[in-house]
């Protein structure tokens, strides 16, 4: 077979072989749990985006649905945030992480009934937590709003799910571990550490008040940096080389990116407490870590760029590659901006403004969600032996998502900067800072309509897929006609 000539020199050929039958057997074993995880994550994505739409419009029209406490901003906003974090992103991370780990370990999943039960418990935990927030039991700690009676359910379900990653990894066929396996494994190890620590110290037995700020910002930053980001990056490291048929360019860069992400990423959160009641060394360490956190961002982004170099054209027809590459851009931009915003002179202006909301949207939607969308477009046809039925829906998903994201992030950044400068100016009032930002919040509310349309197209596409309306004889769903080299279309 015509492998690209430069790659064949260096491959460790003895370990990376897997027959089509073996792949099909592994996929058959992961089918049930992975479809459960991906399907329920998409369900939560639609619910979360709908509540986000409501919350964003309430910032523009404060009287919207103020008839009952259930629908007030103070409950809708944390509900959408936690649904997107735990219902969508984390559940999608389970599905993608399990599938990639089983593929790379080259063993089928065992005892998947227990895993499926754990998945159902997890979803019930998310449901209970959401209802808890809506009836007024939330904790008012960003990312930890699920009440104290819901989080143990999530932790128990999590431990069961994560054990399957560890068992699968332990039973792997002999051979070197691939970068995706480290990233996903590290992510799955981090979550219980972060979630249990933060819940014990902030929700179940709250520590003294001055220590709560650093713990809360440490948790909020690391739920992305150490849990969602490693799983998304691990998925990208599998999907990208599979789609373009190229080896990962530089294993040394993968190692460097991995360790610097674990080491520096975990310290960046406390830098955001600038001016708060914490010892100066905490902010100093947080800002220094944020400066060094540009190292994993550049290492990972450049490594995948070198892998993709010359093959970017496949983005025009492959849905999986298009979403994954935009996820990679999202990773790069949100990483660079996170470092920039952590610098004290910037942080002083934007600390309490909408820029922070824009940055977290860029990271959660532009990076993590886009990468998982790409992975889902790749994984699902292999699991249920059908092709994506409607190319138009995929196109809508992509363009609505991209335009909604760009509009929303730029509106929040511009409005947030004006708001931040107004707050920073000692002679201007708080009210005037809100007046500066309100037209931009209106734009952000419009763009959340676009994001809802995108996610609805995606969910509809997924439902059609489950009904197997796309016949496999009709060939893969391509966004455009592939150009000259017909071999590359096969990888979709």
């Amino acid at each position: 077979m015509n492998q690209p000539s430069h790659s064949s020199h260096h491959e460790d050929t003895e370990v990376r072989t897997l027959s089509n039958e073996a792949r099909a057997a592994i996929d058959a074993s992961t089918r049930g749990p992975v479809i459960l995880f991906l399907g329920s994550s998409i369900f939560w994505l639609v619910i979360g985006t709908f509540l986000k739409l409501l919350a964003d419009w309430q910032l523009t029209i404060p009287t919207l649905l103020d008839c009952t406490a259930l629908f007030t901003y103070g409950r809708i906003e944390p509900a959408q945030n936690n649904i997107l974090l735990y219902g969508w992103a984390s559940t999608a991370a389970f599905g993608a992480g399990l599938w990639v780990t089983a593929r790379l370990s080259r063993v089928p999943l065992l005892h998947k009934k227990l895993l499926t039960s754990a998945g159902i418990i997890w979803n019930l935990g998310v449901l209970l937590g959401t209802v808890g927030i809506l009836i007024g039991d939330g904790n008012s700690i960003p990312g930890l709003d699920f009440p104290g009676y819901a989080s143990p359910i999530l932790l128990i379900a999590y431990v069961l799910i994560a054990s399957w990653i560890i068992i699968t990894l332990r039973q792997r066929q002999p051979g070197a571990l691939f970068a995706s396996q480290w990233f996903i494994f590290a992510g799955f190890l981090s979550f219980p550490w972060l979630y249990a620590t933060a819940n014990i110290l902030l929700v179940w037995h709250p520590v003294q008040a001055s220590a709560q700020g650093p713990i809360a910002s440490w948790f909020l930053e690391n739920i992305t940096n150490l849990w969602l980001a490693p799983v998304a990056i691990g998925t990208g490291f599998y999907v990208v080389p599979k789609l373009v048929s190229r080896p990962i360019s530089s294993p040394s860069l993968s190692v460097l990116g991995f360790w610097t992400l674990i080491l520096f990423g975990s310290w960046t959160g406390i830098g955001s407490l600038m001016g708060g009641p914490v010892p100066a060394w905490m902010m100093g360490a947080g800002v220094a870590a944020s400066i060094m956190a540009i190292i994993p961002v550049l290492s990972i982004a450049i490594n995948l760029h070198l892998t993709l170099r010359g093959k970017y054209s496949a983005m025009s027809w492959s849905p999986a590659l298009r979403f994954t590459v935009f996820g990679l851009y999202g990773f790069f931009f949100s990483g660079v901006l996170a470092t920039l915003f952590a610098l004290p002179s910037f942080n002083a202006v934007i600390q309490f403004s909408d820029v922070v909301a824009g940055a977290s949207l860029l990271s959660l939607y532009g990076f993590v969600s886009m990468t998982f969308f790409g992975a889902i477009y790749y994984i699902v046809p292999r699991l249920i032996d059908a092709e994506w039925p409607c190319v138009k829906l995929i196109r809508w998903h992509f363009w609505f998502a991209l335009s909604g994201l760009v509009l929303s992030v730029s509106a929040l950044f511009l409005g947030g900067l004006l708001q931040g400068f107004a707050q920073f100016d000692v002679a201007s009032t708080f009210r005037s800072s809100i007046e500066f930002v309100s037209p931009f919040r209106f734009l952000a509310a419009i763009s959340s309509v676009l994001l809802l349309l995108a996610n609805l197209s995606f969910a509809f596409s997924f439902v059609l897929m489950l009904l197997k309306t796309g016949k496999s004889e009709s060939g893969p769903a391509l966004l455009n006609e592939p150009t000259e080299n017909s071999l590359e279309t096969l990888a979709v």
Binding site: R16, L253, W281, G284, A288, S299, V426, A491
Partner: protein, 243 residues
Amino acid sequence: MTSNTPSNEDPSKLTSETGEKLPVPASVLRENPEPTNASEPIPLGLTALFFVLIFIAGIYLALNSGGFRSDVFSPDLVSWSGAGAGGAAAPVDPKVVGKRIFTQNCVVCHQTTGLGMPGQFPPLAGSEWVIGGDWVGDNHIVSVLLHGMQGAVQVKGSTYNNAMPPWKQLKDEQIAAVLTYIRSEWGNNAAPISTEYVKSQRDKTIARTEPWSQKELKAMAAESAGAAAAAPAPAAATSSPSK
């Protein structure tokens, strides 16, 4: 599909539990081989950039860590020798606070220029009520701020007839700050008003519930904030009211 290397694994390990032969989806058939690693080195420029970043971060940490002491909250307050820790924060400039309070509360009537609106709201710039006049002392302006004023009032030779609301909900230091600000802005050049002086005036007029009229204020002896602050008890008026 020819793009896959044939397996050298034991296929029995990989078939389903029932032992049946599985159908292979078309999407699996067209897949590329499992990912591998090339062996390109880390680009040299990137390595250099990373060392520069680590150096910058290290310098930043050294300069801003406050000596890694748990009782230092501002990195500016400690040097590497550890001396000078825990010093008090610099005092706030009352004029800056006063400008903020003025912008929030007073600017609607008296305008940012301090000129007021002719015929409606009296000016503060050059006003005898603010900087002191032939019968107006510092106690008058503090009283007006605390309890408000209504009825006809003469300012710089013009008569205004409007209501000034009371501001006793502001704290002593806020009233002192906004007075200090209007007494030093727009060419005004009167002495600052201290928080203690506002407190003494508030205590003195604590029973007052109605806004003042010009007539009532005229009956009050003028005092100077500086003189009042110098003596522990409110000093007797140094200048008797004219007329």
